[in-house]
Symmetry: C2
Subunit: 407 residues, 2 copies
């Protein structure tokens, strides 16, 4: 049986085969970058039209009450919560991942007086590490980076917070949340998990792992749109005492009393700062609804099967290509990364053929497998194109080697 | 000549009379709340459709380059700059007003070591004052509030930053930016102006006033939509040394080098933190383009004429109603506020008649005059309804007195 026949059989038997039709994907494109920007749900343009024309245009200021804009951050958070093993009142959608990281690093420092170290790993997603820098310049935090293998040894009495990304953006490696959370707690530290590359792609059980804090982004597997609002999670046990420094009016107990004194809202609401981004939240809600409806069980099963199919086919066609992701699908996110000296022009040559993956400096070719809309036959076609480009050297043209201003 | 005849004459002679047709306003509504949430420009739904269907849906991840998403924050900032007397490279659109205030308070503290006091006035817009609280809890800042008359006396060697709202949200009182900025500088302090109720409604000349920092919101007179991204201004002379603690990847000199070390972008770009909110920025750009096209000169002239017409008609019909705004239109923003013991039910009774102003606790009736889409005849109708409601006591029903969950 050829790979193509097998791909078609797998598609025919796929319990999620109907889901692709819920997305608007361009013709002739195999989209392997849903881990960077998720595809457009078909329901989104209609919902945006409604929020713009009816809620904003017709309802005007009244829509804060009549269209429930006031509780949109909470509502999206509550819908997102079951996807990551959280209770509904533990998650709120707001701001960006970066800003939410800042809030929760600061909250950990406030909760662990006398400890200043924020422990992470080198090569973590840049914004996570960068968000320590500002607090370091203020004298509030100290950065410590240790390779994941050395994390246990680096957890000492100075560590206020262990901050890690659950699924690594570059390699797709997935960390053992349960074990690392316990290790941090044993050392008296709190833990903050960045779920940006996890949510909607892999199983996450924040509650079961006894995690303290988490953040994640809305524009990858949640399909919330470019620059979608992010989310933040605070375990119930930390909510009453939570102190975060972005003390804006939407995090106040009673914003419309217009008092001069800040009095934080109970619960996770106190993570809000400014006026919520209604247009972005409305688009995110559509994406979250869709993922919740498809169900994490089916999505995770298909994600693993898709990446297994891809890695098998690539190993067969390009046996020299170095897999930078873990070989075991339960130890990685919904992606495969390969190392190649010429990853950049290979990626450009793929894009020219409608196969959209991405490049991560200096030498990573990254393919995401968004299980909601990707078919096995798409993966087959992508592997065929990749094999052709690599074996013939078709990537080696001035056009493909020319770097974009931003890659 | 009756007020109605005069209103119609003023409308006929209005150089901005064509502008109303550029907005989508509901039938039967007189919208006096453009200072809280601006109306929907007719061009916005089409632009949103384009950014959602074409740029996101068709372009997918490629649109970061091909649709210039990477520079959208800068582009909107540059278009906004001339409306507030700034150079194009001094303004950037991002995050919320609250978050931008936090960045710039922190930047002032970094630029004035040894000084911890942030000076503002009691009753300033809550989020402005609240944003000091988080920094105070971290031991970085100290809040000092002084009535505007006593601000000069409160400016001493401990003050790092004078932070004031240019047009007061409740009363509409406009401060003397030139004089107060100079006073702050004479005391060795920096100054941060909140332009949320100014931008697009009154003349602002940040450069001419030698202002250091400013912030403002996109959803009022700029008509950027509910929860639109905000903006921040940093005078060129402060940009090279600017330190702000929300050190996210979009504020990095080269985000896609994925280095572990934070190296701030040159200029105002370093105010960026997380991934920009593309949907919100796209809507904001339409609103900014529209206001820029109409021109601040014409808008300011009409704003003053509208509020003069309104205050004259109200004084005639309801001579006892106490004006909480300055009597001189050049000393106030594009709004009029009145004090009334029963402001809340009066506001509800007006809304029931399609006259949408708003209530600000405890006793303020607030009417905004967005000059781009408001007609003199609208103002006439609003005053008629107000006079009828107040003189007949039509506000005094259980329905109008019942408070919404959020007012």
């Amino acid at each position: 049986m050829t790979d193509l026949v097998r791909a078609r059989e797998l598609d025919a038997a796929d319990p999620l085969r109907h889901a692709r039709d819920l997305f608007d994907l361009p013709e002739g494109v195999v989209y392997l970058d849903g881990n960077s920007l998720g595809a457009l749900p078909k329901a989104t343009p209609g919902r945006m039209e409604q929020v713009v024309r009816q809620e904003w245009g017709e309802g005007l200021i009244r829509s804060w009450n009549t269209a429930d804009w006031f509780t949109l951050s909470q509502r999206v958070g509550a819908k997102l919560a079951p996807l990551i093993g959280a209770a509904q009142d533990e998650v709120i959608a707001c701001d960006t991942t970066s800003v939410n990281i800042f809030k929760l690093i600061s909250a950990a420092l406030a909760a662990r007086p006398g400890r200043k170290v924020i422990l992470s790993e080198p090569g973590n997603f840049p914004t996570d590490i960068y968000m320590i820098a500002g607090l370091e310049a203020q004298g509030l935090a100290r950065r410590r980076l240790a390779d994941v293998d050395a994390i246990m040894a680096a957890l000492d009495d100075d560590v206020a917070l262990l901050m890690l990304t659950h699924v690594h953006y570059k390699t797709g490696r997935m960390l053992d949340m349960q074990r690392l959370t316990k290790a941090a707690h044993d050392a008296g530290a709190l833990v903050l998990w960045d779920l940006s590359h996890s949510t909607g792609g892999v199983p996450v059980d924040l509650g079961g792992c006894n995690a303290d804090f988490a953040v994640g982004c809305g524009y990858k597997y949640l399909n919330g749109g470019p620059g979608a609002p992010a989310f933040a999670y605070v375990a119930q046990r930390h909510q009453a005492g939570l102190q975060q420094p972005l003390t804006g009016w939407f995090g106040h107990r009673a914003p419309f009393e217009f008092s001069d004194d800040y009095d934080p809202a109970p619960g996770v609401d106190r993570l809000l700062a400014g006026t919520p981004a209604i247009l972005g939240l409305a688009a995110l809600e559509v994406g979250v609804d869709l993922i919740a409806e498809l169900g994490m069980g089916a999505l995770v099963a298909k994600s693993r099967a898709l990446s297994e199919f891809a890695s098998g086919a690539i190993a067969e066609r390009l046996s020299d290509l170095e897999l930078a992701s873990p070989h075991n699908p339960v130890q990685r996110g919904s992606q495969l990364s390969y190392r190649h000296e010429h990853a950049y022009p290979i990626c450009q040559a793929l894009i020219a053929r409608g196969i959209i993956g991405d490049f991560r400096a200096p030498d990573i070719l990254r393919f995401g497998f968004a299980p909601a809309y990707l078919r096995y036959e798409d993966v087959y076609n992508a592997v065929e194109a990749l094999a052709e480009i690599v074996t013939t050297g078709a990537w080696n043209t001035p056009e493909f080697r020319k770097r974009a201003a931003v890659t």
